[in-house]
C-alpha cells in the first residue's frame, strides 16, 4: 500500500514530500551516519558544474536574526569526480536522488547532463539557474525567461530523465520564468532559491560576507517564498516543489496549500539533520487528525473567497 505521504511529481514518485534542498545536503552521502536518508522523499545534491569550482572567498556565511546569508559561490567537486566517486554510492541509497546542475553557459549544462547520463542511480536533475552568488550565469538565467526556456529545452534533448528547473525569487514576477521553464519541457519547477541580501559589520564597516551581497535563506524568507509559489502555481500546470524557510510540518502544509506538490528543506537541516523524519511523522498525524486521505489533496487548496479573520473559527 502506498503511504499517505506518497506524492507524484509528474513521472517521478516520492515516498514523502520532504526533499533535502541543494547545498544543504552535500552530495547526499555525508549525512547518512546521523540521519537515515530513507526518511527523505529525496535529496538534491549540491550543484555540480563541469569542472571543480573553488567557490567564493571566505567568509561565506553570516547568520542574521532568524536567517542566514550565504555566498558559497557553488564550490563543488565538478562532474568528473562526482560521477566517479559519489554517484556509484547512489544505488544503495533508498530515496530519490536528484542531481543539481549549475554552469556558466548553456553548453556546459548540456555537457554536465550528458556526463551524468553515464551514472546509474540518478532519478532526475534540478537545473539551478538561480544562484545569486556567481558572477556569470547563475540567477541571470532565471531572470530571463527566453534564456530559461532555451536552456531547459536544450537539456531536455539530452536526457529522458526527470528535469526540474529551480527559479529565482529575485524578479518582479516569477510567472514568465515559470511558464518558460514549463514550455522548455521541465517536468517540475522548484522555488525559491535564496533572496539577495546583505549584512554589514558596523564596527569595521565591512560586509559580513566576502562577496558583499549573498543569498538570504531560512524562516524570514518564508512569506516571500509562499507568495512566489502561489504565483507560479497559478501560471503553470507542472508540479511545483516549494521551499524557503521551512522548519515545521505546518510550514509544509502551508506550502502545499498555496500550490506546492512537495517541498524542500534547506537551512533547517544544518540545525536538525533528522528534521525530515520528524516532519513525516507530524504530517501523518496531521492527516489523521484532519481526516485527509492523501497529502496531495492539499495541493493548491487555498480558499480565496475570503481570508482567515481574527476570532473567526476556521
Amino acid at each position: 500500500m502506498q503511504s499517505k505521504l506518497h506524492v507524484n511529481l509528474g513521472s517521478l514518485s516520492f515516498e514523502s514530500p520532504i526533499v533535502a534542498a541543494s547545498g544543504c545536503y552535500g552530495y547526499g552521502i555525508e549525512y547518512k551516519d546521523v540521519a537515515d536518508p530513507r526518511h527523505l522523499g529525496g535529496f538534491v545534491t549540491k550543484s555540480i558544474s563541469l569542472t571543480r569550482w573553488k567557490g567564493n572567498p571566505p567568509p561565506r556565511l553570516t547568520e542574521v536574526g532568524h536567517g542566514l546569508i550565504n555566498s558559497i559561490g557553488l564550490a563543488n567537486m565538478g562532474v568528473e569526480e562526482f560521477v566517479n566517486e559519489v554517484a556509484p554510492q547512489f544505488p544503495a541509497l533508498q530515496t530519490r536522488k536528484i542531481v543539481s546542475v549549475a554552469c556558466k553557459v548553456m553548453e556546459e549544462y548540456e555537457e554536465v547532463v550528458a556526463r551524468l547520463e553515464d551514472a546509474e542511480g540518478i532519478d532526475g536533475y534540478e537545473l539551478n539557474i538561480s544562484c545569486p552568488n556567481v558572477k556569470e550565469g547563475g540567477m541571470a538565467f532565471s531572470q530571463n525567461p527566453a534564456v530559461t526556456e532555451e536552456l531547459v529545452r536544450r537539456v531536455r534533448k539530452r536526457t529522458n530523465r526527470w528535469i526540474m528547473a529551480k527559479l529565482t525569487p529575485n524578479v518582479a514576477d516569477v510567472a514568465p520564468g515559470a511558464k518558460a521553464a514549463e514550455a522548455g519541457g521541465a517536468d517540475a519547477l522548484s522555488l525559491i532559491n535564496t533572496v539577495v541580501g546583505m549584512a554589514v559589520d558596523w564596527k569595521s564597516r565591512r560586509p559580513r560576507i566576502a562577496t558583499v551581497t549573498g543569498g538570504y535563506s531560512g524562516p524570514p524568507i518564508k512569506p516571500i517564498a509562499l507568495a512566489k509559489v502561489w504565483q507560479a502555481y497559478n501560471a503553470v500546470s507542472v508540479p511545483i516543489v516549494g521551499m524557503g524557510g521551512i522548519t515545521t510540518w505546518s510550514d509544509v502544509v502551508e506550502f502545499m496549500i498555496v500550490g506546492a506538490s512537495a517541498v524542500q528543506v534547506g537551512t533547517a537541516l544544518y540545525a536538525v539533520p533528522g528534521l525530515p523524519e520528524k516532519l513525516n511523522k507530524e504530517l501523518l498525524n496531521y492527516l489523521d487528525q484532519e481526516g485527509i486521505k492523501y497529502l496531495s489533496e492539499l495541493v493548491g487548496s487555498l480558499k480565496t473567497d475570503r481570508a482567515a479573520s481574527v476570532g473567526v473559527p476556521s
Binding site: E30, G55, L61, E63, G218, P219, T267
Partner: protein
C-alpha cells in the same frame, strides 16, 4: 564516526564574568573524541538561534565532556542560562584532531583566551601518556582565564597576561619563543611539536615569530562561521594550502591545520 547525541548537563558554572564551563554526559561522543575535535551544539529545540554553535571539546573524563565558552552573542548567552539536568543536542565529535607524532619528545601547547579548552584536553591526553608537554596561556587579564580558580591545570599552565595582574606581563609568544630558543640550543627543536588555538591575532603572531622549518610539527585550530559542521554546506572555508582549491573547510578539513598553511584574514 560522528553521532547526534543528547547530552545531559551535570554541572554548569560561570567560572569568570561571562565565561562558562559546562560538563555533560555524552558517552558516545566521549568514546569517539580526540583532542582538537569539536561539537556542534543546538542549545534549544527551536530555530532561534537558527544554527548550531561550534564549541571545542574541552576535557573528556569517562562519559563526560567539558565545554568552556565566553558569552559573545545570543547563542552563548542562552547556553549559559541552562542548568544541571537540562539536555543539549550535540553533533560530534567533528573535524580532525591534532596530530600526535610518535617521535615527538617535546610538546608546546599555546592557548589564547578561549582557545584554551582544546589545549587543556590535549595537555591531559599527553601528560597522562607520560609525554612532556608545556602549556601556555595568553590572556589580557585574570578575568579572561578560561579556568576556574580551583582548577588543577591553573598551576601547571604558564600564564602570560597583557595587563600583568600578578602573571608574567606581555604576550604569550614571548615565553614560547624563549623556550624554543632554549630547545634550539639543546638541539631538541626538531623533536618538538607545537600546537595552538586562539584568535587570529595569535595565529598571525606565531606565523611571524616561530622558526618554521626547525620544528617537527606546528598545528593550529581555527574558527570560522559554520553552517552544517560536517562538510556539507562549504560555508566554513578559510584560505589555506593543501587542498585541491585555495580554500579548506574548518569543520571537515580542520579545525586543525598546519600553522604555515593558513592565510590570516586581512594580513596581506
Amino acid at each position: 564516526m560522528k553521532v547526534l547525541e543528547t547530552g545531559r548537563i551535570t554541572r554548569i558554572q560561570e567560572i569568570r564574568p561571562g565565561i562558562f564551563s559546562l560538563w555533560a554526559s555524552a558517552p558516545e561522543i566521549c568514546s569517539l573524541a580526540v583532542p582538537g575535535q569539536f561539537v556542534h551544539v543546538r542549545i534549544k529545540d527551536q530555530f532561534l538561534p537558527l544554527l548550531r554553535r561550534p564549541l571545542s571539546i574541552g576535557r573528556v573524563e569517562e562519559n563526560q565532556l567539558e565545554l568552556v565558552w565566553r558569552v559573545v552573542g545570543e547563542g552563548t548567552r542562552l547556553l549559559g542560562q541552562l542548568g544541571a539536568g537540562d539536555d543539549i543536542d550535540l553533533l560530534g565529535p567533528l573535524g580532525h584532531g591534532f596530530t600526535i607524532p610518535d617521535d615527538a619528545e617535546q610538546f608546546l601547547l599555546i592557548g589564547g583566551g578561549l582557545g584554551m579548552p582544546p589545549m587543556v584536553y590535549l595537555y591531559n591526553h599527553l601528560t597522562m601518556r607520560g609525554r612532556k608537554a608545556t602549556l601556555f596561556l595568553g590572556v589580557r587579564g585574570r578575568d579572561d582565564i578560561p579556568l576556574s580558580d580551583d582548577d588543577p591545570i591553573l598551576s601547571q599552565a604558564r600564564i602570560v597576561a597583557e595587563n600583568g595582574e600578578g602573571f608574567r606581563k606581555g604576550l604569550v609568544t614571548e615565553p614560547v619563543n624563549e623556550l624554543l630558543d632554549e630547545l634550539a640550543t639543546k638541539s631538541t627543536l626538531t623533536n618538538t611539536a607545537l600546537y595552538s588555538c586562539g584568535p587570529w591575532g595569535l595565529i598571525g603572531a606565531l606565523q611571524r615569530t616561530i622558526p618554521q622549518q626547525s620544528l617537527l610539527l606546528t598545528e593550529v585550530s581555527l574558527e570560522q562561521q559554520m553552517g552544517c559542521g560536517i562538510g556539507v554546506c562549504q560555508g566554513c572555508a578559510v584560505e589555506a594550502e593543501g587542498g585541491p582549491t585555495p580554500y579548506r573547510l574548518v569543520c571537515s578539513d580542520g579545525p586543525v591545520f598546519d600553522l604555515f598553511s593558513v592565510e590570516v584574514p586581512g594580513a596581506k
